[in-house]
C-alpha cells in the first residue's frame, strides 16, 4: 500500500481558550475525494486553516511523506496544497483574469499557465466572458467558480474546499458539485468540507464526521449514508 498523500495525526487548533480542534486524525489518499462533515462550529474550517498554516496548531501533518512543520502558508502552498476558503476569498478589486493569474503565482511556466487558463475557461465558460470584469461584480456562484478555478491554476496536488455550496442557489450548487466531480475524475486529490452532508456524501468516497472539535465517525460514504446516527443528525431523517 502506498502512503497517503496527506496524513494528519493529533491535530489541535485553539483560539485562546477555545479548543476548536481537539486532536484529530485523518488521511487522504492519492486521487481520493474525502469529505469532512459536521455542524456549525464543529471545527471544520479550523482544521483546514491549521493544514494551511493560517492558524497556530499542534500535531503532525505529513504531506507526500514529508512533515509540514510550522511552515509559512506561502511555503505550504508551494508544496502543492491549495485552499478555497470559506466565503471564497475573491480579490474583488482585481479582474477575473488577474484573480486567475494570482492562482498561478507560484508558477513560472508561462506556456503551462496559458494552457491551464484555457482549461479553466473551458470548465467555466462564464468566467471567460467576464475575464476583464472586476471580480467583485460577479454573482456569488460565479465567485465560487472563480475561487475554484483560481485554486486550480496553481496545479495543486491536494485541493481543500471549504463549503463551496454556501449561500448558493440550488441550481448553482449542482453546477459546482458537477465541477467538483469533474476535477476529482481528472485525478486531483480533494478534501471537501461541507455542512450539507447529503451533497458531500454523494460526491465523495470517504467521509469523516466532526463534532465539537473531534472526529466521531469515519468510513466509506455509502456506509455512512446508511448509518442511523448520521441519518438522524446530518441527513435530517
Amino acid at each position: 500500500m502506498t502512503a497517503p498523500l496527506l496524513s494528519v495525526h493529533d491535530l489541535k487548533v485553539a483560539y485562546g481558550g477555545i479548543h476548536a480542534v481537539r486532536g484529530i486524525d485523518f488521511e487522504v489518499g492519492r486521487g481520493e475525494l474525502v469529505c469532512l462533515i459536521g455542524a456549525n462550529g464543529a471545527g471544520k474550517s479550523s482544521t483546514l486553516k491549521g493544514l494551511m498554516g493560517l492558524v497556530a496548531h499542534e500535531g503532525i501533518i505529513e504531506f507526500d511523506g514529508e512533515r509540514l512543520h510550522h511552515q509559512a502558508t506561502h511555503a505550504i502552498v508551494a508544496r502543492g496544497l491549495a485552499l478555497v476558503p470559506e466565503g471564497r476569498g475573491i480579490f474583488g478589486r482585481l479582474t477575473v483574469a488577474e484573480n486567475l493569474d494570482m492562482g498561478a503565482y507560484t508558477r513560472r511556466d508561462r506556456a503551462g499557465i496559458r494552457a491551464d487558463l484555457g482549461r479553466a475557461f473551458e470548465l467555466f465558460p462564464r468566467l471567460a466572458e467576464r475575464r476583464v470584469q472586476l471580480a467583485g461584480t460577479l454573482s456569488g456562484g460565479e465567485q465560487q467558480m472563480l475561487a475554484i478555478a483560481r485554486a486550480l491554476m496553481g496545479r495543486p496536488r491536494l485541493l481543500l474546499l471549504d463549503e463551496p455550496s454556501m449561500g448558493l442557489a440550488p441550481l448553482m450548487v449542482r453546477k459546482i458539485y458537477e465541477t467538483i466531480a469533474d476535477i476529482a475524475s481528472e485525478g486531483v486529490t480533494l478534501l471537501l468540507v461541507e455542512q450539507n452532508a447529503r451533497l458531500a456524501l454523494k460526491v465523495s468516497q470517504r467521509a469523516y464526521v466532526m463534532e465539537s472539535g473531534a472526529v466521531t465517525l469515519s468510513g466509506a460514504c455509502a456506509e455512512l449514508a446508511n448509518d442511523p446516527q448520521v441519518r438522524a443528525a446530518y441527513l435530517g431523517e
Binding site: 509559512a72 491549495a82 476558503p85 503565482y105
Partner: protein, 309 residues
C-alpha cells in the same frame, strides 16, 4: 508677470514633489492600514545623504559637472533610503503586525522622532545648503517664468509616477501588492510571501522618497534635519485629499495641494489686506486636511475607508 500663472507653475512643481512623497504614505496605508509617519523623515534622510555625497564629491573632484555630482548624490541616497525603510519596517512595524492599530501608529511617531534626532546628531542643527552647481536657466511660459530645475522636477516626477503605475498594474509584484492590500490571508493562500511584499512596498516608497528629498532640497536650496516633518505632513494631507490607499489619488492630491498652497500663498496678502503674508503658506495644507476630513473623509478618489475588510 502674471502672478496667477507663476503661482500655478510653482504649485505644480511643488505638488509633483508632494505627490511623490504621498505615494509612499498611500502604498503603505493601502497594504497595512498604517500611517507611516516616519516616511517624511526617510525623505529628509534622502536629502541629507545626497547633500553629504555632493559635498564630498565637490571636495575631491571639483572638476566634475554639477549635474553629475547631484546625480551621484541621488544614486547613493536611493539605496540608503531603501535600506533605512526596510530596517524600519522589519524592526519597528513587523513585530506589531497583529497588535491593535494604535500600537504601530505610536511606533511610527516614535521612529520619526528617533530619525530626526539621529539626523540632528549626524548633520547638525544648522541648515545645510544645496550648492549652486546646477544650471539656472530660466524660460518664459504663458506669462510665467519656469526654471530648468523646475522642468526637470516635474518631468522626472511624472516619469516616476508613470513607472510606479506600470509596476503596480502590470507586473507580478504589483499584482501581489494589490492582492495583499485586499486580503493578506488570501494572498498568502495564493503563495505570496506577504512579508516580502510588505518590505517591497516600504522599499519602493523609500526609493521614490529619496528622489523627492533631493528635489525639494535642490528646489529650496537647503535641507534641514527637521524638514521631513512638514513635508511629511503635507504629503500625508495630499494622500488623504486624494483618498488614502489610492495611488492615483496620491498623485492627484499632491498636485492639487501644491497648486492650492501656491495660489493661497500668492493671494493671501491681498485676501487678508496684508495682515498675513506668504510665509503662512503652510497653513493651507492643514485647511485642506481638515476640510477633507470633515467633508469627504474618503478623499477625492477613495472608496469607503471606514469599513474595509
Amino acid at each position: 508677470m502674471d502672478i496667477f500663472a507663476q503661482q500655478l507653475v510653482n504649485g505644480l512643481v511643488l505638488g509633483s514633489i508632494y505627490a511623490l512623497v504621498a505615494l509612499g504614505y498611500t502604498m503603505v496605508y493601502g497594504i497595512l492600514e498604517l500611517i507611516n509617519f516616519a516616511h517624511g523623515e526617510v525623505t529628509m534622510v534622502g536629502a541629507m545623504v545626497a547633500l553629504s555625497v555632493i559635498g564630498l564629491l565637490m571636495g575631491v573632484a571639483p572638476e566634475l559637472p554639477g549635474v553629475v555630482v547631484v546625480l551621484a548624490g541621488i544614486l547613493v541616497a536611493i539605496p540608503a533610503c531603501m535600506a533605512l525603510a526596510y530596517t524600519i519596517e522589519k524592526i519597528a512595524y513587523r513585530p506589531l503586525r497583529h497588535a491593535p492599530r494604535l500600537a504601530p501608529l505610536i511606533t511610527a511617531i516614535g521612529v520619526s522622532i528617533i530619525l530626526q534626532n539621529l539626523a540632528m546628531l549626524i548633520w547638525g542643527r544648522q541648515y545645510v545648503s544645496f550648492p549652486a552647481i546646477l544650471p539656472s536657466d530660466k524660460y518664459a511660459l504663458l506669462g510665467a517664468q519656469i526654471s530648468l530645475l523646475q522642468i526637470v522636477i516635474v518631468v522626472l516626477a511624472l516619469l516616476l509616477m508613470a513607472g510606479l503605475w506600470l509596476l503596480v498594474e502590470r507586473t507580478r509584484l504589483g499584482r501581489a501588492m494589490r492582492a495583499t492590500a485586499q486580503s493578506r490571508e488570501v494572498a498568502e493562500l495564493m503563495g505570496v510571501n506577504v512579508d516580502r511584499v510588505i518590505s517591497a512596498t516600504f522599499v519602493l516608497g523609500a526609493a521614490i522618497a529619496a528622489i523627492a528629498g533631493v528635489m525639494v532640497s535642490a528646489y529650496y536650496g537647503l535641507a534641514h534635519y527637521y524638514m521631513g516633518f512638514m513635508l511629511g505632513l503635507k504629503a500625508f494631507s495630499a494622500a488623504v485629499l486624494g483618498g488614502i490607499g489610492n495611488l492615483a489619488g496620491a498623485m492627484l492630491g499632491g498636485l492639487l495641494l501644491g497648486v492650492i498652497e501656491a495660489l493661497g500663498a500668492g493671494y493671501i496678502g491681498d485676501l487678508t489686506g496684508g495682515f498675513l503674508g506668504s510665509n503662512y503658506q503652510d497653513v493651507f495644507a492643514f485647511f485642506v486636511l481638515i476640510g477633507v476630513l470633515v467633508l469627504r473623509p474618503s478623499g477625492l478618489l477613495g472608496e469607503r475607508v471606514a469599513n474595509r475588510a
